[in-house]
């Protein structure tokens, strides 16, 4: 096994809240609270979680777009958490971001060709001729016509804008691309076009993806490995096959059962694992397991003691007291 493309250890991102009263205690939003992950080269890690669980904070921290509170990040063996200035800028060539909203992530006053070329200009890659050639190549690669380089973002549809976003991310030939909900703003019929494009580009260019989504169907289609996040922590991580054939954490199970299925319809809806309420506040997370207040099988210990992420089967990690291991086979407390 080679060293992973991306390795994160005990990463923490806390946002300090502004105090209106100078004597009030300092409060912090624990957006990312001790996350460790690794993504192998050429593979896709699917990161799943509900809104507010810290997925986007984690993604932004990895690309050093938000200050990190603690922990380490390595890209292809190089620590990037302490880099700054020119060294960080050079590192940015190797990692790029595809944003969720194809409407607000493109400058409405710039022409499409210039948008795609802008990373090359900013990072000082190539000269005018090679940049233009590279932009033309990228337009072809993402399925846009060359003459569309002269258009403005409003002249493109949502799916085409996302293609522009992808072309821009590909421009500096990155190795790691963080895709933050790349299809959730798109119509269903357009989603499959973009997902197929991302899959094809990965195969052609050996890209490594961190693929963030709240849609488990999409993650099942795209990811090689899956990590589930809840309130700033990873609660389960496993290979795609292990995760989808035997999800262990009660939250993962609830999440999977909450997705309406075309085949199952009402019969499946009736057997659904029901979660009450909303996730607790990340400012004052509960002392024990963070999922305990909503968990249908939580016991006294869950409310008092924080479970650790433990290895229940080779490569299948879960943060739950109630997962039992019998003859080497872990079983979920919820069935």
């Amino acid at each position: 096994m080679t060293s992973p493309m991306l390795q994160i250890n005990d990463l923490r991102v806390h946002y300090r809240r502004r105090r209106l009263n100078p004597f009030a205690p300092v409060q912090a939003v624990h957006a990312v609270d001790g996350v460790s992950l690794a993504v192998e080269k050429g593979r896709t890690l699917g990161l799943v979680g509900e809104s507010g669980c810290g997925k986007t904070s984690l993604a932004r921290a990895i690309l050093r777009l938000t200050p990190i509170t603690g922990g380490s990040i390595s890209l292809d063996g190089t620590r990037i958490d302490a880099l700054d200035g020119g060294a960080l800028r050079q590192m940015r060539r190797r990692m790029q971001y595809i944003f969720q909203d194809p409407y607000s992530s493109l400058n409405p006053r710039a022409r499409a060709g210039n948008i795609v070329q802008s990373p090359l200009d900013v990072l000082g890659i190539g000269d005018a001729g090679t940049r233009a050639a590279r932009v033309a190549e990228l337009f072809g690669a993402v399925g846009l016509r060359p003459e569309q380089q002269a258009l403005f973002p409003h002249q493109f549809s949502g799916g085409q804008r996302q293609r522009l976003n992808i072309a821009r991310a590909l421009a500096p030939e990155p190795e790691l691309i963080v895709c933050d909900e790349p299809v959730s703003a798109l119509d269903v019929a357009i989603r499959s076009q973009i997902l197929n494009l991302l899959t094809r580009l990965q195969a052609e260019r050996g890209l490594t993806y961190l693929f963030i989504s709240h849609d488990l169907g999409v993650v099942k289609h795209m990811a090689d490995d899956v990590a589930v996040m809840y309130l700033g922590q990873i609660v389960e991580k496993a290979s795609r096959a292990a995760f989808f054939s035997r999800p262990l954490h009660p939250y993962s199970r609830a999440l999977l059962s909450a997705v309406p299925s075309v085949k199952g319809g009402r019969s499946v809806a009736a057997q659904r694992i029901k979660l009450a309420g909303d996730p607790p506040s990340p400012i004052k997370p509960p002392p024990g397991c963070r999922f305990a207040p909503r968990c249908p099988v939580a016991d006294a210990r869950c409310h008092e003691e924080m479970p650790q992420l433990r290895d229940t089967a080779p490569g299948h990690w879960v943060r739950c007291h109630r997962v039992e291991i019998e003859n080497g086979v872990p079983t979920s407390p919820l069935s």
């Binding site: 509900e50 019929a189 499959s192 709240h214 999409v218 999440l255 309406p260 075309v262 659904r272």
Partner: protein
């Protein structure tokens, strides 16, 4: 689902006037929903789903929009002929609507309680303590914990799911006989979506209310709807019972829509590329004669581009496609 339909829409057309002439946003939409029944309307953005809902309530902005043809029969009464005061009485009272964005459809400067009380005062004449008591009852009905306390809170103090519950409580204030829910869970997480669906089902069962659920999610349709209408380019291209349409889709667009969604039920084995529907929904200004889907359809034949196919109905399953003449019953 026999018996008199609660709402029946016949040949509804809506036009918008713009710089490029007149655009037909709805082109002969026919639908019906019975009491206690859920009709799902599914389609991509721009297919006319929301416009249908707005037209039923006569909320199409006029000008530039105009309902140019058709009938909207609510318990036999044509709403398109109704007077403005009569419509005001029907909206919110007999037919209620909840919107997609629970963040923007509540007024941020009034408490949640004040906004529910307003509905009660306008339609039922309840004031003061009576309105407050009824509002708290409604909040309890939609399973909002600590309803007395929430009554005095502002929308920003509530989570997205809570806000959508408040919207449902407001819509339920006058015990409407028809509820139109326009993408009620699109902005919410799946676990919260499941809670809202449960709530809607419960309320519907308890009150025998008709429900029109507008969504782009086939899974939500499978779970909630008794019947489904698939819309494209301002027309209903296929309609039938949910199981029938999902298991045996006839129209190429419906087939594509079902096939292009990554399937969570699929075995974990090999993965293959997703089915794509090429191209995008045509702009309302570019709609040509013929079937609006013809340009994206891989089964298109010559007549598809020249004239719109008529509806073919067999066993309550309606489809508008030139490729399906054989099934004419």
């Amino acid at each position: 689902m026999a018996g008199e339909p609660l709402l029946s829409v016949e040949g509804l057309c809506v036009e918008f006037k713009g710089a490029r002439g007149i655009a037909r946003v709805l082109n002969g939409v026919s639908l019906s929903v019975a009491a206690g029944e859920t009709l799902g309307i599914v389609g991509e953005s721009g297919s006319g789903k929301s416009m249908t809902a707005l037209a039923v309530l006569r909320l199409v902005p006029d000008p530039p929009g105009r309902i140019s043809a058709g009938r909207v029969l609510f318990r036999g009464e044509d709403l398109l002929q109704a007077s403005t005061p009569r419509m005001r009485d029907i909206r919110g009272n007999k037919i209620s609507m909840i919107f997609q964005e629970p963040m923007t459809s509540l007024n941020p400067v009034f408490t949640v309680g004040a906004q529910i009380c307003e509905t009660l005062t306008l339609h039922l004449g309840l004031r003061g303590e009576a309105a407050r008591r009824r509002s708290i009852e409604l909040l309890k009905d939609v399973r909002i914990p600590a309803a007395e306390q929430r009554f005095d809170e502002y929308p920003h103090q509530l989570s997205g799911g809570m806000r959508q519950r408040v919207m449902i409580a407001m819509a339920m204030a006058c015990e409407p006989s028809l509820l139109i829910a326009d993408e009620p869970t699109t902005a919410l997480d799946v676990t919260v979506q499941a809670q809202i669906f449960d709530l809607l089902r419960e309320i519907q069962k308890a009150r025998g209310m008709g429900l029109i659920l507008i969504t782009h999610d086939m899974g939500a349709i499978a779970e909630m709807a008794d019947r489904v209408a698939v819309m494209y380019g301002g027309r209903v291209v296929e309609e039938g019972t949910t199981r029938d349409v999902l298991d045996h889709p006839q129209h190429p667009y419906t087939k594509g829509l079902i096939a292009c969604v990554p399937d969570l039920d699929q075995e974990v084995g090999e993965r293959h590329a997703l089915t794509e529907i090429p191209g995008v929904v045509p702009s309302v200004w570019d709609l040509q004669q013929g079937c609006p889907f013809a340009d994206r359809c891989d089964e298109a034949i010559a007549p598809c581009r020249t004239s719109m196919p008529a509806d073919v109905v067999s066993n309550g399953h309606r489809v508008a496609c030139w490729q399906r003449p054989g099934e004419r019953a």
